[in-house]
Symmetry: C2
Subunit: 204 residues, 2 copies
DNA sequence: TATCATATTGGACAGAATGTCCAGAAATGC
DNA sequence: GCATTTCTGGACATTCTGTCCAATATGATA
């Protein structure tokens, strides 16, 4: 899979293209080794064989390089959407399969990008939520759904909902938001007009 | 609601308690203003009226203070679990309501803790996922579920699942993980033995 | 209250990393 | 080939970190 690195329309000089590619590749190579946070601009430049002063003529800092690099990778996802083999109507979401595929293809990169270093605020919260979910789910899972999968699914959904609810000023009341969450976790989206494969009858 | 700040059993000296409380309060006060990442140890000490050298006799660094502060707040959640008013059997998860309540009570803190600064790797990914989910969900939502709620729920679940799947070495194949995700998003957990209020018949 | 133990303080210090600047060297586009 | 642009490496000021110390202040205890 080719990565489209065209940042602006007028980036033609081979030297710029080469420099940016070297830096982005160096970043990608370095992240799995030592984690993003631990990297310094000098580390990246050394790996890329680029002068440190050159770095700053292209990116304002480490974060901007990361943004550009990630953007270049994700661009390929957004572009190719031929909605290939799956017949419409059978699937709820179209985005997930290409995303899973991309993540699998660039496994080590995604691993490095997504792996929580464990020392974030989110990580700390996430851990607690996960424990709570796991203890409630353990023991009685529907057949065919791995426990840990469900734990991740539910805790991820919960945290996202919680963050959104708080950020939006908590316009919904506590019982309201809780009921919504409970309902969605139990029933899912459940589009009226979508035939969900044939998993429904399996639920006895 | 009182916050339990007892870190170890033998922390009795009022000076220690006072210093740590000042530092934790300063952190909490500062995070909403400028965001956690932008804070320096000196900022926190200045706000708390604590000497910077004193800081290091209590915490190894900014992150340790954050961990302790968050831990102190979350402790109150784990402790009180009288599983109060709700009859058992009607709800899937017991953890969510207390958590929503705590988040609402400490709204500004949670807002500061959860609000993504927007400059994280996760944030960048999250944004893209959200857009994809939103565009697929918009227009045909079941009655009673706000679109944005569903967007947050699904995208949060997806990202958590994706991160877990990659971190675990992708033992499930791409079609397997995708089918699991699709099924869970569509149907939810759907415990066989749980009476989900009365929302099911509402799905025509 | 007197005394001891412990905590806090401010300042100094070295080290790491950032971001800026410049003049010379090298490569590119035309 | 020549003008233009980019790369380079070194120097520089700045910020933040983490450690150390002697002087001082405060809580614990009898």
């Amino acid at each position: 899979m080719k990565i489209d690195r065209s940042d602006d329309s007028g980036t033609i000089d081979r030297r710029v293209a080469r420099t940016r590619a070297m830096l982005q590749d160096a970043l990608i190579a370095l992240i799995p080794e030592r984690g993003y946070a631990a990297l310094t601009v000098e580390d990246i430049c050394e790996k890329a064989n680029i002068g440190r002063s050159t770095f700053y003529t292209h990116y304002a800092g480490k974060d901007e390089l990361r943004t550009a690099t990630l953007e270049a990778h994700l661009r390929s996802l957004t572009q190719k959407r031929p909605s290939s083999s799956t017949e419409p109507g059978k699937r709820l979401f179209e985005f997930s399969l290409p995303m899973f595929e991309h993540a699998h293809a660039f496994r080590s990169l995604h691993h490095a990008l997504l792996s929580s270093s464990g020392d974030t605020i989110h990580d700390q919260l996430r851990d607690r939520i996960r424990r709570a979910v796991r203890s409630e789910l353990a023991g009685n899972m529907p057949a065919g759904i791995p426990l840990e999968f469900a734990v991740q699914f539910v805790s991820g959904a919960f945290l996202a909902v919680l963050a959104w609810w708080i950020a939006e000023g908590a316009s919904l009341s506590v019982p309201q938001i809780d009921e919504l969450f409970q309902r969605m976790a139990a029933e899912g989206i459940g589009f009226p007009d979508v035939d969900v494969v044939d998993a429904k009858p399996a639920r006895r």
